[in-house]
């Protein structure tokens, strides 16, 4: 596979998703980028914004195994990763075997991840980072590819457990799903009225996905791009002299080194999607917001004052000079 073919494959995947999802172009773009960049995605949006539909459609298009975890406060880690169970395969002879949980799939939808307890949330840590699950001292590898697409509802905050920083950092992208505009709502209504159900045709498989990922990883990243990405991440730290005043005043912790990795990986995919063989500054700038917004920890008073990490990232982008 060459870069041009990879670009076309990615384009087909996006177009197929657009057949299913009305509007949400930026969300679809970012989700596809994250999938090609082999990263986990945290989708945040109000109910009914087609978050689950998007993930299910993606799994179908990629012809990947799909698993779903509906998070509730009483969800146990074993419900996610699996547990040891007694099986009576032969009469009178019971065997203790590992029964894999829903996480043993290539594409996992963790719905309303902030509704489950931190204990269950942390069960996902190893899976997301190591792509393995350890149960009863035995480590079980997860299928390849493996991606977690989690959703959370920003409206109902009562009885929720906000994700800890360590877990948030493991998500490549934090995507905000906006409410559709009037035209999109009309299209949704029209589809409902005409009972339109788009037929999804598989356009990808695991092998193709692996090839596309390989091409994306080879996209050239010059020295000045690496410098720029590093400067961006450093500028999110309040202790850095290059940080703008808003960061010094409003940020408690800046982005982790994973942010640099995420910036470069996703920027490579963006460059490939744009038909280029090298990463440009604009690619870094385009992916900066979904990469950095969940990795910046604001001060409590700033958070209470309704300031968002998005505005901080925007200020950082302005403050860091383009090399």
């Amino acid at each position: 596979m060459n870069p041009t073919t990879a670009q076309h494959q990615i384009q087909r995947l996006s177009e197929s998703l657009h057949h299913v999802i009305v509007g949400q172009h930026e969300v679809i773009h970012q989700v596809v980028t994250a999938v090609i960049a082999d990263g986990h995605v945290l989708l945040e949006g109000a109910p009914g914004l087609a978050k689950t539909t998007l993930v299910r459609s993606l799994a179908q298009l990629l012809s990947l195994s799909f698993g779903r975890v509906q998070c509730t406060p009483d969800l146990m880690p074993s419900d996610v990763v699996g547990t040891m169970m007694l099986f009576d395969d032969q009469p009178g002879r019971y065997q203790l075997r590992f029964a894999p949980g829903p996480i043993f799939a290539s594409l996992i939808l963790v719905d309303e991840i902030n509704r489950t307890t931190p204990r269950t949330q942390s069960a996902l840590l190893e899976a997301m980072q190591e792509h393995t699950v350890t149960v009863a001292g035995t480590t079980h590898p997860l299928p390849d590819p493996f991606m977690v697409l989690a959703t959370q509802n920003p409206i109902e905050m009562e009885g929720t457990y906000p994700l800890p920083e360590a877990q948030r950092d493991r998500f490549l992208y934090h995507i905000i799903v906006p409410f559709p505009d009037a035209a999109d709502l009309m299209e949704i209504a029209r589809r409902e009225a005409t009972a339109f159900h788009p037929q999804l045709v598989t356009c990808f498989d695991a092998v193709t996905l692996a090839q596309v990922r390989q091409i994306a990883q080879q996209i050239l990243v010059a020295e000045h791009i690496l410098t720029y990405a590093s400067m961006l991440v450093l500028a999110t730290h309040p202790s850095d002299p290059r940080a703008p005043t808003a960061v010094r005043d409003g940020v408690r912790y800046g982005a982790s080194p994973r942010a640099v990795q995420a910036l470069i990986r996703t920027a490579q995919v963006e460059a490939l999607r744009a038909g280029r063989l090298q990463v440009d500054v604009v690619d870094i700038q385009r992916v900066a917001l979904p990469v950095l917004r969940h990795r910046i920890v604001l001060r409590r008073e700033v958070f209470l004052a309704n300031a968002s990490a998005d505005s901080i990232v925007a200020l950082v982008l302005v403050a860091v000079p383009v090399p």
Partner: protein
């Protein structure tokens, strides 16, 4: 040469026209940005130069231009120093999205070797297919900006501004200063003058001060020559002892050089050779005549300067006035030409001496001692000058010569007559007509403090006539104010006689 170096050479060669284009763009941008400042500076400089008669304005303009060139070079250099490498700037300017910088500086690792080769080839193709003119050096927006700036400059040059009247006034003064310098240069050489300093005088006060300084030197020359003329006949008839006494008494006026020359000529005359003494007498006469011409010219120019400084732009206002207004200066000058009254009253050194009036003017030595202390009658603005008028009377010579400059336009600050004084700056001011226009009735201030209702036109005529009469009287040395203590009293009488 390694592969990498070959690639760098090829890319450098391929980007040459783009780099040149980019340098031009940077230079044009820096030039245009500073050109606005340059235009403002030049405009301000032109206005300032016309307002205050800036000396060596060409040097100033050259300085501003030089500053502009240095500024453009500095801005150009600073931007290049601040900006990233030219390769990155070309990437940004031509929209190559880091292709050039990546192709030049990417260190290919084995897994990316194939892609790096492809990227280099793609970049080379991109550069060769991108025309250099894709980067607009001169945009339509810049054309519009330049055209509007040009229009603004032209408009500022030709349209009336708040400074127009001052500039016109200053131009007239400069012309006057130039004519003064030319006039003095055409006179027989008597005292050294600095024509450049006169021409570049920033304001009338400075010019008058220079003329006053020259007048004092001329007065000293005149006094010396008159003294010499008077002394030679006396020496010829005096005994040796008297000769020595006369010479000693006159040494302070004549100076040591002239005293020595006179003594030598006198010795030769006693030995039967009167030629040197006669030559000395002739020289004194020529010098006296020259001094008279100088004094006449100085008084004339000072009157012109004062009149212009008082009236703003006198010549431009003249058509609205009755006869005497503008012609007064000229007629005054004309009246004085041909006659040469000695005006040595401006010299402080003559105090107590008896300077003779050369040429057609009889000596007025001691002819008017009664003038002292009688000049306090002028009201208003002229009150401050009474002391100076009185100060001339102590010399007892009555040489209050000068011009009359009647300003009858009825709208300016007043009419002034230049009366040479010891300090050389005093003028006699006839009360102004205020803001009245011709034909209106105004209250004319009288010397005694009362007022008289007269028509402005009549008043203007009266004042102009008075000035002319006084001028003629002074020139012809026929003092018509017999019985009047001072010139001011004479004018007071004239004004009282006005209808």
């Amino acid at each position: 040469m390694s592969t990498s170096n070959v690639r760098i050479t090829k890319l450098t060669h391929a980007t040459r026209p783009h780099r040149w284009r980019y340098w031009w763009l940077m230079l044009v941008q820096a030039t245009l940005q500073l050109s606005v400042g340059l235009a403002v500076c030049l405009l301000a400089l032109i206005i300032t130069a016309q307002l205050v008669a800036l000396p060596q304005r060409f040097g100033w303009v050259l300085g501003v231009l030089l500053l502009w060139v240095v500024g453009v070079a500095g801005l150009f250099g600073w931007r290049n120093w601040q900006a990233p490498s030219i390769w990155r700037r070309l990437d940004q300017a031509y929209g190559w999205h880091s292709a050039l910088a990546t192709a030049l500086f990417f260190t290919s690792a084995p897994p990316t070797q194939l892609l790096a080769d492809a990227q280099y080839q793609a970049t080379l193709d991109l550069i060769t297919t991108t025309p250099a003119r894709q980067l607009p050096v001169w945009s339509r927006r810049m054309t519009l900006s330049g055209a509007s700036m040009l229009l603004l400059c032209v408009g500022a040059w030709y349209l009336p501004t708040p400074f127009d009247s001052q500039i016109a006034q200053q131009r007239q003064f400069q012309q006057l200063a130039q004519s003064v310098a030319q006039k003095l240069q055409q006179l027989p050489p008597l005292v050294p003058i600095d024509a450049t300093a006169l021409t570049n005088s920033p304001d009338p006060q400075t010019l008058v001060a220079q003329l006053n300084a020259t007048a004092m030197q001329v007065a000293a020359h005149a006094q010396a020559s008159q003294q010499l003329q008077r002394l030679i006949p006396q020496l010829q008839q005096a005994s040796p002892a008297q000769q020595q006494a006369l010479l000693a008494a006159s040494q302070s006026i004549l100076g040591p050089a002239q005293t020595t020359a006179l003594q030598q000529a006198l010795t030769q005359a006693q030995q039967g050779n009167p030629a040197p003494l006669q030559a000395l007498a002739n020289q004194a006469q020529r010098q006296s005549q020259a001094a008279n011409q100088w004094q006449q010219a100085l008084v004339d120019t000072k009157n012109q300067t004062l009149a212009q400084s008082q009236s703003g732009a006198p010549t431009s206002q003249s058509p609205t006035t009755p006869a005497p207004a503008t012609t007064n200066q000229n007629s005054t000058s004309a009246n004085q030409s041909g006659s040469s009254p000695s005006q040595s009253g401006s010299s402080p050194s003559q105090s107590g001496s008896s300077a003779s009036q050369s040429g057609s003017s009889p000596s007025q030595s001691g002819s008017s001692p009664s003038q002292s202390g009688s000049s306090a009658s002028q009201s208003g603005s002229s009150a401050s000058q009474s002391g100076s008028i009185a100060s001339q009377s102590g010399t007892g010579m009555g040489q209050a010569g000068g011009n009359g400059s009647g300003n009858g336009n009825g709208s300016t600050s007043g009419t002034q007559l230049f009366v040479p004084q010891v300090d050389g700056t005093q003028v006699l001011t006839i009360p102004a007509l205020g803001n009245a226009t011709t034909g209106q009735t105004v209250l004319r201030p009288n010397p005694n403090g009362a007022t008289t209702t007269v028509a402005t036109q009549q008043y203007a005529v009266v004042v102009a006539d008075a000035a002319r009469t006084a001028n003629q009287a002074i020139v012809s040395n026929q003092i018509p104010w017999a019985g009047q203590a001072t010139v001011r009293d004479y004018f007071a009488v004239l004004q009282q006689e006005a209808p």
